[in-house]
């Protein structure tokens, strides 16, 4: 079975230049967005909490590029990357992060609750593992409506400790629901290495439910994209759920402000990931090596995206706050 799948990947055409450059743009967009979030937070312009996605960009982009616009995703407290990768625009996202009425949720959700139904994003979720049921229910709905949609449930390896995930996976497998569970293993449950909290093999947990399970290098956007295309296609055809483990790394702290990390991970480890396994750099190198792009082109893209992000920040900073009487609107539908 494994060899059959491998031959299918090999039969996929090489990534074309336009697509490869689009991946690069999307990943740079997430990277620069998050760098601005960091700045906004440190300069006290952004209230609340900020959990940066930097280091994990390949996962969101690789998976979401394999989805249709009307497919669903559910996201996490570290969700800016998923939101952008699924097609949200930075200006309304920044506005949401700053609590402005022009934000995706009129400033009522904030960083940890951004949702954008127009791009199929059913919402970030600040309860770890909290969206496992929602994603599975969206898949059930898609199946009942015969819409051909799939749902992707993004979650970190910290959610492997939550029972809801296993209840949901059990039903997804029983009823062959079109849901893909994407476990982004960034190695750390907050400030604790996942090996201290996670017994056995992660893949064995999904395999126990009879779910098609794949483990993949989470810094390689092309590999993630190819694997996602394959499993999403299988899932969409009615072959039941899939579970994709992407091994990745959170370059910065659990949240902005988690600066002293020496008690849970070493500087050396961080440096190794940042210098040798940066997903954006890896793609840039590959684009140059394959002569799809030269340094000049990539720098031009960086600059262009940078300008877009700067404009988005200005838009958000200048946008109005909600009127006070909005406070009790939208409690009941």
């Amino acid at each position: 079975m494994a060899s059959a799948k491998k031959s299918k990947i090999a039969s996929l055409p090489a990534l074309d230049r336009a697509k490869a450059l689009h991946f690069y743009r999307q990943m740079v967009k997430i990277r620069l967005f998050e760098e601005q979030v960091n700045q906004l937070y440190l300069s006290a312009k952004m209230p609340g909490l900020a959990h940066l996605y930097i280091g994990q960009e390949a996962v969101a982009v690789g998976v979401c590029e394999a989805l249709r616009r009307d497919d669903y995703i559910t996201s996490t407290h570290r969700g800016h990357g998923h939101c952008l990768a699924k097609g949200a625009s930075p200006d309304k996202m920044f506005a949401e992060l700053l609590g402005k009425v022009a934000g995706y949720c009129r400033g009522k959700g904030g960083s940890m609750h951004i949702a954008d139904q127009d791009t199929g994003n059913l919402g970030a979720n600040a309860i770890v593992g909290g969206s496992a049921g929602i994603a599975t229910g969206a898949a059930m709905s898609a199946k009942m409506r015969r819409s051909g949609q799939v749902a992707v449930c993004f979650f970190g390896e910290g959610a492997l400790g939550q029972g809801l995930l296993y209840e949901s996976m059990n039903m997804a497998s029983l009823w062959k629901l079109p849901v893909i569970y994407v476990c982004e293993n960034n190695q750390y449950n907050e400030y604790t290495n996942y090996r201290e909290s996670t017994a056995g093999e992660v893949s064995a947990r999904a395999e126990a439910f009879g779910i098609n399970t794949e483990t993949i290098e989470g810094q390689d956007v092309e590999a993630i994209y190819r694997k996602s295309l394959e499993i999403i296609d299988q899932t969409r055809r009615g072959n039941g759920p899939a579970f994709l483990i992407c091994n990745t790394y959170r370059f910065y702290g659990h949240h902005v402000g988690d600066i002293d990390r020496s008690y849970y991970r070493s500087k050396k480890e961080e440096e190794e990931w940042k210098t040798q396994r940066d997903p954006v750099k890896l793609l840039a190198e590959r684009l140059q090596k394959s002569e799809m792009a030269d340094l000049e082109l990539l720098q031009a893209i960086d600059k262009e995206i940078g300008a877009e992000i700067d404009d988005a920040v200005s838009f958000a900073l200048n946008a109005p706050y909600p009127q006070p009487d909005e406070v009790d609107q939208h409690v009941y539908a």
């Binding site: 609750h113 049921g133 229910g137 969206a138």
Partner: protein, 340 residues
Amino acid sequence: MATIPQDMHVTPATVREITFGQAIKEALAEEMRRDPRVFIIGEDVAEAGTAFKVLSGLVKEFGTERVIDSPISEAGITGITVGAAMTGMRPVVDIMFGDFITLTMDQMVNQAAKIHYMSGGKLRVPMVLRTTLGATRRSAAQHSQSLHAWFSHIPGLKVVLPSTPFDAKGLLKSAIRDDGPVVFFEDKMMYQLKGPVPEEEYTLPLGVADIKRAGQDITLVATSSMVQVSLRAAEILEPIGISAEVVDVRTTVPLDTRTLIDSARKTSRAIVIDEGYERYGVTAEIASVIADGAFYYLDAPVKRLGAMNVPVPFSPVLEDRTVPTAEAVAEVAKRLCNKA
């Protein structure tokens, strides 16, 4: 006794006596026929028709694709219900015993209740969670609680507590049609209670209390199981010259404060009776509403009667002490009316 409102325009010939359980099933069947987006999910809801047999036969009409037997995973099925509701369906999740809502709390409280608000009004969660309440079934501490106060505390959830077959049917139909999450509590001791229900289609709005019995001297505000208890208390009080008005709240959220306050202003005395734990319970909120809105009209402090603040015991002699009875309500009423 349950009355059918004058504005229903139903002719007596169309009114049948059916049980509370049958009324629930009729509401579900009618809504499933009307709207293909409605489905039921829960433990043993299909062939078994639930542990209480309330849904018997529904699977025959609608099939296992719309009456779905689930694993024993209350959190999971509630989460799936939330996700399905957000994406175009109108699911009804069945949580067998009200005690098991503890297992659904994150999905109801942090997800279902907040999604519409957190998304700035973009996403909707049109779902119903049906569950039960009520003690005296000799089911002990984990199968007997009335935990509706938990959900009533949470902005974003509506909470329905029908007390008659007529109300149960009309309110459940409205709950299913509501665009947000509604929690629907059924008194499991009431499933065999019979009452008049018209054959014609009707719905009852959420947020409108119902005066189940008119009176002059004291207001008995009650929910669910305690409405029947209060009606019996009113019968005990009548021969000794106390005319009790029984107001059925019907929904704790939204709460029809106007009707409660108006009744208390008219009678000048009020007792609030509810089967949830008395401490920090539904009775406290309603008593506060009445005290606030009818203060200058009251001749006595507002009294509360709820379940005793103990885990529900198994032994019948102990269990029966924990729930308000008609006699207990009547005793308090007599004291308030200076007829003790």
